[in-house]
């Protein structure tokens, strides 16, 4: 029964609108392709609320600050403001299977949200990761992050 219901609703998106839970589960192929383009549009892509110079949420502000502290070059960073695009706001959550904003992608791969980004930053893992992903230059002969010290 359920399967029949799901299959038929796939072809009638208008019906889905009545039920947000179902609507959220089916990202159209077109929307999925657009988001795929967005996540690979730059080596580092951040989906956030607001813009880097004007973040509109504390979590997004923290995420962009971490990227700035890591000195991610501007030409390698692209941000999308989900507040000006409701479709993107819901679509990216389903695409990444992640319920919150911000969301960080590096080289087309989902890295995590604000909590993960902050803990990686604090442990020094983020710097290594960004170096290995060719986002920031490797610094040779310099002190390693505290958490990695011998």
């Amino acid at each position: 029964m359920l399967r029949t219901a799901l299959r038929s609703s796939l072809f009638r998106p208008a019906v889905l609108g009545a039920n947000r839970v179902f609507a959220a589960r089916f990202l159209s192929q077109e929307a999925r392709a657009q988001i795929q383009n967005a996540v690979s549009s730059s080596p580092v892509v951040l989906f956030m609320k607001g813009t880097p110079s004007h973040p509109e949420c504390g979590f997004s502000r923290a995420a962009i600050q971490v990227l700035q502290l890591q000195e991610v070059p501007e030409e390698k960073l692209k941000t999308y403001n989900v507040l000006v695009d409701p479709e993107l706001r819901s679509g990216i959550k389903e695409f990444s299977d992640w319920p919150t904003i911000p969301q960080l992608y590096v080289n087309g791969e989902f890295v995590g949200g604000c909590d993960i980004l902050l803990s990686m930053h604090q442990s020094g893992e983020l710097e290594t990761f960004l170096e290995n992903s060719n986002i920031i230059p490797k610094v040779e002969g310099e002190a390693v992050p505290v958490s990695a010290s011998v």
Binding site: P99, T100, G112, D115, I116, Q122
Partner: protein, 89 residues
């Protein structure tokens, strides 16, 4: 159904062996903003991303009703180190 810390804790304890749970309602009472800290040996061998995805899935319905949600996930060993460092929250 409104979300409260008891609901959240029950949902977590149902599926997870937790030695320590902190659930902080940061919403000033409206029930829409939570930060949780979980310590469980079930996290052993799982990356942070995997742990968070697991918890997100577990609390899917609750999170969808929230405005903000933040989590920290430790194994008992990691939590000891975390406490030893004296890192806040």
């Amino acid at each position: 159904m409104p979300i409260d810390t008891a609901n959240l804790e029950a949902a977590i304890r149902n599926s997870l062996n937790c030695t320590h749970i902190e659930i902080e309602d940061q919403s000033n009472g409206c029930g829409e903003n939570y930060a949780i800290l979980l310590v469980s040996e079930d996290f052993e061998g799982k990356s942070t991303l995997m742990r968070h995805r697991w918890i997100n899935q577990l609390l899917k319905d609750e999170i969808s009703q929230m405005h903000a949600f933040s989590q920290k996930t430790f194994t008992p060993k990691q939590y000891e180190i975390h406490l030893a460092k004296g890192v806040q929250g």
